[in-house]
Symmetry: C2
């Protein structure tokens, strides 16, 4: 350091950097990352307007299309999953448009809130947290409503560990409103749970790199149907950063993005997608099903109660009711500090009422077994009697 640092704001005194501990990270994203994927990030930077980046962008897009099961280009933006929610809203609608938000938890509510923040007229169809959207109730409610430009819904609700029957919901929405735009938050489902964008006739589907993709956070991926692209032409909500038009144009023409992409996260995603294809899409889905079954079985066997209704429990994240008399905050702290096992707490009004176990992306059954064995042991120390 030079001896004469100028300026009114002095060099700050900060806590020194300490090593990142080895943990069994069992939150529903960011998920653990394979070494090969982490290592990809150490590649040197490249020009994001050059041929090396274009090759990566094209390869990543083609593979994402396969996982989304769509012929539409999958656009990427430097953003979190919430950026996908905002991107879908601002690219499809105009102020005052009537949209229906089917919400079963915190992230469904966030999507509805974004639509409201942008001046849409939002009708909510809400289900109690822990339950999936019941197709019959949705159908009955939709029939009562005046026409709606779009329906916003969550595939897998990360906050409650519930997976909606998206295929059934999309089919009934399409039957009632052939031209409505079906917007799907697939942040914690895409790549992990069957999702068939084109066959299910979905109009906008988005996800985030830090979920089933075994990649660090930083890239949001979104695809739009021909119907959505048509709607995009007349959608008048203000937008620039998340505007799809220039992103598609530059991707297809040059393998570029209008602004600077998250290059090192792209390196990671490129390798992760290669690993996912080596494992196979159906094999991943089967592994996720097995993981869901395993976690739910163990949780029930130790006398705990699942928060999600049985037939719609998620295969990527399991929410567990905090047993009466147990201080879940203290329990999670003990597990984190003593055992280096990191679970997620409940969100919003579920804080202290549930905790959540992530089982998506890169994991083995042994990781889940170790987490659950230790949870069981600690629960008894905390006075839990099944």
């Amino acid at each position: 350091m030079t001896t004469q640092e100028q300026g009114a704001i002095p060099v700050p005194q900060v806590e020194e950097r300490t090593p990142i501990p080895k943990q069994n990270l069992r939150v529903p994203g960011p998920t653990p990352i394979p070494s090969e994927v982490l290592a990809a990030q150490t590649n040197p930077m490249i020009n994001h307007r050059g041929p090396e980046f274009a090759a990566i962008a094209r390869r990543v897009t083609a593979r994402l299309q396969y996982f989304f099961q769509t012929t539409s280009p999958v656009l990427t933006f430097p953003a979190s999953g919430t950026g996908g929610q905002e991107s879908a809203v601002v690219n499809l609608f105009s102020p005052g448009d009537h949209v229906v938000a089917i919400t079963i938890g915190n992230f469904g509510n966030r999507l509805a809130k974004i639509a409201e923040a942008y001046g849409l007229n939002v009708t909510r169809i809400e289900f109690p947290w822990g339950q999936a959207a019941d197709p019959a109730s949705v159908e009955a409610r939709l029939k009562e409503l005046p026409s709606y430009k779009g329906v916003l819904l969550t595939h897998n609700e990360t906050s409650t560990g519930v997976t909606n029957d998206l295929e059934a919901l999309a089919a009934l929405i399409r039957r009632l409103a052939p031209e409505t735009l079906i917007v799907v938050d697939a942040v914690s489902s895409a790549g992990s749970i069957p999702l068939d964008m084109d066959r299910w006739d979905l109009d906008a589907v988005f996800t985030g790199s830090q979920k089933g993709w075994m990649t660090p956070p930083g890239i949001m991926m979104i695809a739009a149907s021909p119907r959505a692209w048509e709607a995009n032409k007349t959608a008048r909500l203000p937008r620039f950063y998340f505007d799809w038009g220039p992103a598609r144009k530059q991707l297809l023409e040059k393998g570029q993005h209008p602004t600077t992409p998250a290059v090192s996260v792209f390196y990671a995603l490129d390798v992760a997608l290669e690993m996912m294809l080596a494992e196979g899409r159906e094999a991943i889905f089967a592994r996720q099903q097995q993981a869901g079954d395993y976690v739910r079985g163990r949780v029930r066997a130790m006398g705990l109660q699942l928060f999600a209704d049985h037939q719609n429990a998620s295969n990527t994240v399991t929410a567990i009711k905090v047993p009466e008399g147990i201080d879940s905050k203290a329990l999670l702290k003990k597990l984190r500090e003593q055992d280096r096992i990191v679970f997620a707490g409940g969100q919003a009004h579920l804080e202290g009422k549930i905790f959540r176990i992530g089982h998506l992306g890169y994991f083995t059954e042994a990781d889940l077994a170790q987490a659950l064995d230790t949870l069981e042991q600690r629960l008894h120390e905390f006075g839990f009697k099944s």
Copy 2:
């Protein structure tokens, strides 16, 4: 891969992944990254709602405050620099607000375009590309205008290699309009060129991790003055993803971000800031000044013409006029493919008219010398006679 891959979209046939070549990357961002910073990205993921991330977020923020020279918290968003432009606009203004955009190039124009996209009433004060904003002309123009809620300007215009005299411009704007909001795009200046947010009374300042910070792209940093925070209370433009309020609240209360931050890029930024402090802020500025002088000196000595006017030439990026009769696209291609030296072309109407050399972040004078030596040699092969 399982033998029975289902779904209508088949596994795509893609170009195989190839190694990222060793290059002398001389574009104005992404910049080369120190090994230690690249390696930081291989740390395992952590819970972005846990204590490890909070420690990093707090340390990074405090250090960014020092480089911004502000007591205001520096917020971070998973985004590119353009996200900073949009974030400043949507957090400060309401539809129909009159703002002045002082533009000297492509990125100044982008900021004005974003303001227009969001329905602001934008008066442009434009200067020919290659020149800085002339304080006397700005003052004369501002005096003719009806009152304006904000003034948007670029500190260092990456597209033309020109640095505005931000201190002088801010002082005269403040003198004419004591309560106007001064919004500064410092994407390619902050951390590299003197910038004194509080002392110069700037209201919003933003930058991106891939510029002077020696960090991969993916994090946008933005700080707002007390005056800006006051304006934020009544600003009615729609916003959610880039909303400052929840970002500040969660940062100060918990060391968190409302959505999932780019964790691996944070690891990198944390180490990069540590290295920058070890070098010292004034030492970095001196090194940047020296690099600017060196590049300009060499460019002139080889008989090329600088695009920027002399006294405002940037110390982070140098734009050079393409000599008559030289095919700059072919020249840059040859340098990239044969010599592994990557320069940037011109943007918008300057495509083919200028090319640009980045010299910010992590570099040595030897890197610049090698790039310039080779450029000189190739130029002669392309028929250039000084």
